[in-house]
């Protein structure tokens, strides 16, 4: 059966930012399949130049409304590394708590508000408020728990205020930490219910072998800083991130592209899982096994399962950290900061994958040069190269333009692209 198909999506919905999908199949052969980012550029790297170190984290947070905590953490880490600064242990724990809060709220937002409508046959979450009220309520509870964690530790969920160069400005009161622990314990049944729901999703059967890049955990599932690794065997130190990303500008897109051992690579929950699954919390491992997620998984649609697995991991880990921080007493959470000339890189695993900020400082604590490499920038080429393979695989009897459009849209959404962030 020689089939003709056309997909032309202008400004894909239920993703952050603006991107287009074009697919043309003639007589069963894919003639064109592309992913173009058309978001307006904001020139953050240029705006960061000349900024004082006390401003860099505040400005960088504005790169992204969804993972502002991750940007702020990558930024302060780059600055601290340039200044040769070690932050207090207590601050490290608090930062990881804020990070976990962000991972939870972002993954739940994606799973229930952006992805679930595709699997439940709705245009958005809004009709689900009536059709599947229990699912929406549990999503709201889980997202709320993540956001309250961010609020307590970072001072705010979007554009954090307490995460500063040197550590964390305010230690939340013990009672608030313990109340959050109790709240997270109460959300564990919600996570189990979410797993039951997602177990029922019909995940498209599709694979394309690719390379996965992430932080490499030593003793813990990695989120903030450390060594870099790829599933093709490339290993680098944090400051060698350029050898991992090889960013380049393309004519057709306002976001750059990246490559490593192949034409494209992927970052994100699936990459973290594939490279670090052995370090997940036991409950998260159990869930992965139950939902059929096994390393090395090359089905991009399984990223949704990896997201839920990470939600379970961060919730358990946050409960542990809340107990530890509540038991700390009045400890120091800020180191003294002495600016000096030099360069530093901060790598952080944000919900959509590994993020790098790199700054060079002059002697007055001001940025001379800045570079930010965003997860979606690293995923763009991988999305682009997935599309023709997906179209080829599904250009079979019974396929229609509408069905293929849905599949292509779901594929792009499975990367949870953060497009304005990728353009910055």
């Amino acid at each position: 059966m020689k089939i003709d198909l056309n997909v032309d999506v202008h400004h894909l919905t239920r993703v952050e930012g603006h991107g287009n999908i074009h697919v043309r199949v003639r007589a069963g052969k894919v003639e064109e399949a592309r992913w173009d980012v058309v978001e307006t550029p904001r020139f953050f790297e240029v705006m960061l130049k000349g900024k004082h170190y006390t401003t860099a984290g505040i400005l960088s947070a504005r790169i992204c409304g969804i993972c502002s905590i991750g940007h702020c953490l990558a930024s302060v880490r780059a600055t601290e590394s340039a200044f040769g600064l070690e932050v207090p242990e207590a601050a490290k724990k608090l930062r990881l708590l804020a990070k976990h809060g962000e991972t939870l709220q972002s993954h739940v937002l994606h799973l229930f508000f952006l992805a679930a409508p595709d699997f439940l046959g709705a245009p958005s979450v809004l009709p689900l408020v009536e059709k599947a009220p229990e699912a929406v309520k549990l999503a709201v509870r889980l997202k709320g728990a993540g956001n309250r964690l961010c609020d307590a530790v970072a001072g705010r969920t979007t554009h954090p205020v307490s995460l500063q160069v040197g550590g964390v400005a305010v230690l939340p009161p013990r009672a608030r930490l313990l109340a959050l622990r109790d709240e997270l314990e109460r959300t564990l049944p919600d996570l189990a219910a979410a797993a039951d729901l997602i177990a029922g999703f019909d995940v498209p059967r599709f694979e394309r072998e690719t390379e996965f890049v992430s932080l490499r955990g030593e003793s813990e599932y990695p989120f903030i800083g450390g060594r870099l690794v790829s599933s093709d065997g490339v290993a680098r130190a944090e400051h060698e991130y350029r050898e991992m990303t090889n960013e380049y500008a393309v004519a057709s897109s306002t976001s750059k592209w990246c490559r490593l051992s192949r034409a494209s690579f992927a970052v994100g929950p699936l990459a973290r899982f594939n490279n670090n699954h052995r370090l997940l919390h036991a409950e998260a491992k159990k869930l992965a096994a139950r939902l059929g997620l096994e390393p090395v998984c090359h089905n991009p649609f399984m990223a949704n399962v990896a997201r839920l697995v990470e939600c379970v991991h961060v919730t358990h880990d946050a409960i542990r950290l809340l107990e530890e921080t509540a038991a700390m007493g009045e400890v120091k959470t800020m180191a003294d900061v002495a600016p000096r000339a030099g360069e530093g890189v901060g790598a952080v695993e944000v919900p959509r994958g590994i993020l790098y900020h790199h700054y060079a400082y002059d002697g007055d604590g001001r940025i001379a040069r800045a570079n930010c490499v965003i997860p979606t920038t690293q995923n763009n080429a991988n999305i682009h190269h997935d599309l023709p393979v997906l179209a080829e695989r599904f250009a079979v009897d019974g396929m229609t333009d509408e069905k293929l459009e849905l599949l292509c849209s779901m594929l792009v959404r499975s990367y949870d692209p953060c497009i304005s962030c990728s353009v910055h």
């Binding site: 550029p41 020139f43 505040i58 504005r62 809004l126 509870r141 305010v170 500008a249 304005s420």
Partner: protein, 250 residues
Amino acid sequence: MKYLGIEPKRLRFAVFEFTGCEGCELQLANKEETLLAFLGAVDVVEFREVSSARNGAYDVALVDGAISRTDEVERLREIRARAKVLVALGSCACFGGVNRMKNACDLDQANREVYGDHPKETLPTRAIHEVVPVDLKIPGCPVSKAEVERIVQHLLFEVPYQFPVYPVCLECKQHFTVCLFDKGQLCLGPITRGGCDAPCPAGGLGCWGCRGKAADANIDEFRSIARERAHGEREIAERLGFFGGFEEHS
């Protein structure tokens, strides 16, 4: 959403985004304690970031982001033509926001630095009221969801909303936050419009003025106090210019 048994009006809302981080849109899905009530009170007919439904018929357009490319100018004009009420959502939409800082650079050179041989189209950043008439401006980076809820209630019950005229300091004092300006940090609380509930000083960061100038704020007086407290000209100027809310155009 009823008050004393009276049904409010139903209004159709649409949400659009331009140059920005989309953090203001995200706030619409935050504040989970009241999210379901909020969604139940408004008819959201178009919101690309969360819905595939598209519908050109709406009463209120919430617009987040600034304007920095020709296609955005055209898209914004179309939205203006369709909307009965156009609301600027957040500091990017109200003032240009942090994006405005690029206007101080040579844009060709900025393009070369970031994109090398593949320069992209870009215009100097403008607030949306510099392109089309705006009916209501809700400042904040990001907007406060609590304030957005209050404003939506006023729209539904057809009662004009009064923005606070007092500065951030007042809300900061209500929380008994230890004053950071007194402790040596620069803080724009005394001259910034309140309504955010002063989250920044509570979290250990001086106010950056994201909501713009408070009514009757005496900027010159503030500058001289800040100078007396050993804050340099450059620090003060950078802080005032950060979100664009203290400039002529705001």
